[in-house]
Every structure is written in structure tokens, then in C-alpha cells.
């Protein structure tokens, strides 16, 4: 019999991604060294790394990163917690759902960065306006996905818990929240990048320190090496956050 199965499985190829990266960065470096790429428009990877190292060791890049991390952590945590509580309430109480559905569908589409000037008017140019913008951007997707996850909590589990005489609070803590956990973590992955976008945008509008301000300042003096070093930092921040959430998923969702 002629073999006619197979061919559609995705198999792990461990060396392909690093090899691809090496080829790409190698070509970039070769282009820069040979002078084909204008260093003002795109400095070579070695130069960017050197700049990044120098700025971290001597310059105040560390202060910028520290500021940005604080804003991101605060904004993301506040937004996530608020989204979690509102999403949970909308999933559990009909009146919360009625109000929440209408409010979210009208407010969700607003690009949150458009509200930053208003927040600056209300809260001043300092930290609170930036943190609020990030928190708001994280809040909506979290609320929507937690509400959907609570809706999707298997009814047979709830009925089972009721048959063993568990009270409402125990059912929320022991059945509803654990079954919503995978959706929450999946949403956290998305909101981290939303948070990063808003962080950089807010810092570009008005901040002395912060990775967004750093990139903007580098751009203004056409220092493309520093600019790319800043972009590299953001990319690393996002990758690290993703790795943290992946580790959380591995430990918390072992049962899957």
C-alpha cells in the first residue's frame, strides 16, 4: 500500500528560530559594516547593543526603566483587579450585567490614550494620569473576558456544589473563579502588551523619565542608536512579562 497519511503535523524544530534570527541579524550587521545601510537611519546591531550597555552602565537609562516598570506594574495591577471585580460582578448579578454591558459597549471603543489630556487636567501631569490611562486600557478587556468566563463556568459543577450544600460564596471561590482562571491568564497576556503601548504613548506625551520619554528624546536629537536601544528595552520588557505569565500558567493550570 502506498503511504498516503501524514504531512499535516507541526513538529518542534528547535534550531530553526535561532538560525533564522542569526541569518537576519547577520545580514543587518553585514549591511551596516559594508556601509550599505545608513547608520543614521538604521545603526548596526552591535552598535545598538554597545549603546544599550553603555547607557545602562553610565547613563540614566536604568532610571527610565525603573520609572516605566513602576507605572506599568501599578497601572496593570489596578486595571486588572478592577476588571476582575467588575467582570465577576457582571457575571454574577443581573443588574450589574445590565449596567455593565451598556457602559462597556459605549466606552470600550474609545482609544484610551485620547483620554490622557483629560486625565492630565483632572489629576495633573504627574504619575496618576499615566497610571490611570494604563489601568483603563487594561480594565476593559479584563472585565469583558472575566464576565464571559464566569458565564462559561460549567453549570453542572455549580449544581454539583449546591447538591453538597456549599453556600454562594464558597461556590464563587471554589467553582466559578477556578474555572475562569485560564481565561484570566490568557487575557493577562494580551493586556500586558496593551499596557506597554499605553505606557510608551503616555510617556511620550509628558514625562521627564520613562522609556517612552527616552525614545522620544533620542529621536529629537536624531540619535538612532539610543532610540533603538530604547525599543530593544521595550521588546525585552514585553518578552519577560510574557515569560512570567507562561510560568504562572504552567504552575496554576497544571491540571489541564
Amino acid at each position: 500500500m502506498r503511504f498516503r497519511g501524514g504531512g499535516f503535523e507541526i513538529t518542534p524544530k528547535r534550531w530553526f528560530a535561532p538560525a533564522f534570527a542569526v541569518v537576519l541579524v547577520g545580514a543587518w550587521q553585514a549591511g551596516s559594516t559594508s556601509g550599505r545601510i545608513d547608520p543614521l537611519l538604521l545603526p548596526g546591531p552591535v552598535d545598538v547593543l554597545e549603546t544599550l550597555y553603555r547607557e545602562l552602565a553610565q547613563g540614566d537609562l536604568a532610571i527610565h526603566i525603573g520609572q516605566s516598570l513602576t507605572r506599568l506594574l501599578l497601572g496593570w495591577s489596578i486595571g486588572s483587579l478592577a476588571g476582575l471585580s467588575v467582570g465577576l460582578s457582571m457575571g454574577l448579578w443581573s443588574w450589574c450585567r445590565a449596567i455593565g454591558d451598556a457602559a462597556i459597549s459605549s466606552l470600550y471603543p474609545i482609544p484610551k490614550i485620547a483620554l490622557l489630556p483629560l486625565f492630565i487636567l483632572w489629576l495633573g501631569i504627574g504619575e496618576s494620569s499615566k497610571i490611570t490611562t494604563i489601568a483603563l486600557g487594561v480594565f476593559f478587556p479584563m472585565a469583558v473576558s472575566v464576565c464571559a468566563a464566569v458565564d462559561a463556568a460549567p453549570r453542572p459543577f455549580i449544581r454539583m456544589a449546591q447538591s453538597f450544600g456549599l453556600d454562594r460564596l464558597s461556590i464563587i471561590v471554589k467553582i466559578v473563579l477556578p474555572s475562569a482562571l485560564p481565561a484570566m491568564l490568557a487575557c493577562a497576556r494580551i493586556t500586558v502588551s496593551t499596557g506597554l503601548v499605553l505606557l510608551v504613548a503616555a510617556e511620550m506625551i509628558g514625562a521627564q523619565y520613562g522609556i517612552g520619554a527616552y525614545i522620544l528624546a533620542a529621536g529629537n536629537i536624531m540619535d538612532s542608536e539610543k532610540l533603538l536601544a530604547g525599543v530593544l528595552v521595550i521588546s525585552l520588557l514585553g518578552t519577560c512579562a510574557g515569560a512570567v505569565i507562561a510560568a504562572l500558567e504552567r504552575t496554576l493550570l497544571r491540571w489541564r
Binding site: 449544581r159 449546591q162 447538591s163 467553582i175 482562571l181 491540571w255
Partner: protein, 262 residues
């Protein structure tokens, strides 16, 4: 404990699923409910166990549960109803949480029921690691942990293969012969009904009404004997004839409804 169903009726919106159902489960009896699919068997069980309030009639429990009973009316569900994020021990513990028991007492009960259901080495396993039969053993272990005075079982063996079903039936009867709690057992499997029950309530097609109540006079422990086999299979045959006419009429009604729509 005993349970009396008195003139039970239930509607979901304009759809009547149960109508005037009356029968009783006496002390230490196994009563099974059998009927064509969609006749309201599971609804009947949910009403009997107090999970759904009936539209008409009432489910009345008689007798005082023993003091040690944590949850007098305890369910065993179709697909076992195990929480995938809890281990076997954790799932059994759900029946004990929120009760006035020390940690040590809880652990002792868990160990005891896992031992009784043959789940000893599996306390730390997650449900996804278990076969269908093992899952249902956990479901039964969890029910036993609650020290029930009355068991409500909703097609507990419908999700397992034929061999596992046979094995679980034997184990289950052995467990029951020790404690003799009353059981209301919903099934669509005639063999289970005839092997396990003292009485079989045959329901009609929707709306479910009591079509017939069949007594099985042979003690459960003797039903595997070859000389009673023919008696049991004759009984099984009679019930099947009843069910077949119900199922056929239901199909015909559906067909005439569809024709009326055209």
C-alpha cells in the same frame, strides 16, 4: 431516610416535562426510574434532591437523618462531576468543606472512602489522568464521604464501557449491602435497573407520567444466580416492550408535528 413523591409535575416554560408522578422510596430500597429519553428523568431526580422546585406537587422526606450524616440527600452525577483543577482527594474533600470537622478528621474520612472504593494510590491524581470508571469511583467516594442517608444517582454508569459497568455494578452493590442507604437511581439501561433495584418505575414519554411500577422480588445478592436469570430477562423483556411502544409513539408524534409545520 424515605422519600415520597406526591403528584409531582414540572414545566419548563410552556413545555410540561413531568405530570402527576407519585411513588415512594422506602427505607433501604433501591428504586430505579427508567423511561424514554427526554421524559424528565433527570428533572425528577433534581426535584427529589431539592435542586429544582417543582411546579406542582411535592417531594417529602420522611425520617430523621443520622447525626453523623453531613449531607443526608447526596447526588452521584452522570459524568461523575469532578472538578478538573482538584486532585482525587481534593474532589472528595469538597463534600467535607464547610462542615464542623477538623483537618485530621477530614483526612481520615478521605482515606477511608478512597480505600473503600479501591482508589488508594490515586489520592494525588488529577481527573484527566483517570479512566471513566475511575472517575465514577471518585464520584461515589465523594458521595460516601458525605455520609448520605439517601443517594440520588443520575445515570452514574452511562459514561463507562460495558465491562467497567459490570465491574462497577458489582462493587456498588457490595458497598450498598453494607450500609443499605435508600437510593433513587435514574437510568436508561434496563440491565442496570433489573440488576440493582427493588422496584422499577417506568415513565411514559414526555410529559413523563408513571406508566407502570415493577417489583423485583429477588434479593440483589442472588441476581447473578443462573436459575433466576431467565426470570430477570423475562422482566427485562416486558419493560422493554413498554418502553418501545412509548419511544415509537414519541417518534410518531414528532413526525406528525413536523408534517403539521409543513
Amino acid at each position: 431516610m424515605e422519600l415520597e413523591l406526591r403528584g409531582l409535575g414540572h414545566d419548563f416554560g410552556s413545555l410540561t416535562v413531568l405530570d402527576n408522578v407519585s411513588f415512594a422510596v422506602r427505607k433501604s430500597e433501591i428504586v430505579s426510574v427508567i423511561g424514554p429519553s427526554g421524559c424528565g428523568k433527570s428533572t425528577l431526580l433534581a426535584i427529589a434532591g431539592g435542586l429544582i422546585a417543582p411546579s406542582r406537587g411535592s417531594a417529602v422526606s420522611l425520617g430523621v437523618p443520622p447525626a453523623a450524616s453531613l449531607n443526608p440527600f447526596t447526588f452521584v452525577f452522570q459524568d461523575a462531576g469532578l472538578l478538573p483543577w482538584r486532585t482525587v482527594a481534593g474532589n472528595v474533600a469538597l463534600a467535607l468543606e464547610g462542615r464542623p470537622l477538623s483537618r485530621k478528621a477530614q483526612a481520615e474520612i478521605i482515606e477511608e472512602v478512597l480505600d473503600r472504593t479501591g482508589l488508594c494510590g490515586f489520592a494525588k491524581a488529577y481527573p484527566k489522568q483517570l479512566s471513566g470508571g475511575m472517575k465514577q469511583r471518585v464520584g461515589i467516594a465523594r458521595a460516601l464521604a458525605a455520609r448520605p442517608a439517601f443517594l440520588l444517582m443520575d445515570e452514574p454508569l452511562s459514561a463507562v464501557d460495558a465491562q467497567t459497568r459490570e465491574l462497577l455494578m458489582e462493587e456498588f452493590l457490595a458497598l450498598w449491602l453494607r450500609d443499605r442507604v435508600s437510593i433513587l437511581y435514574v437510568t436508561h439501561n434496563l440491565d442496570e435497573a433489573v440488576r440493582l433495584s427493588d422496584r422499577i418505575v417506568v415513565l411514559s414519554r414526555r410529559p413523563g407520567r408513571v406508566r407502570e411500577i415493577v417489583d423485583v422480588a429477588i434479593p440483589q445478592s442472588e441476581r447473578r444466580r443462573p436459575d433466576v436469570a431467565s426470570e430477570l430477562s423475562a422482566m427485562q423483556n416486558d419493560i422493554w416492550n413498554l418502553l418501545r411502544s412509548e419511544a415509537r409513539n414519541a417518534d410518531r408524534e414528532l413526525l406528525s408535528l413536523e408534517r403539521a409545520d409543513v
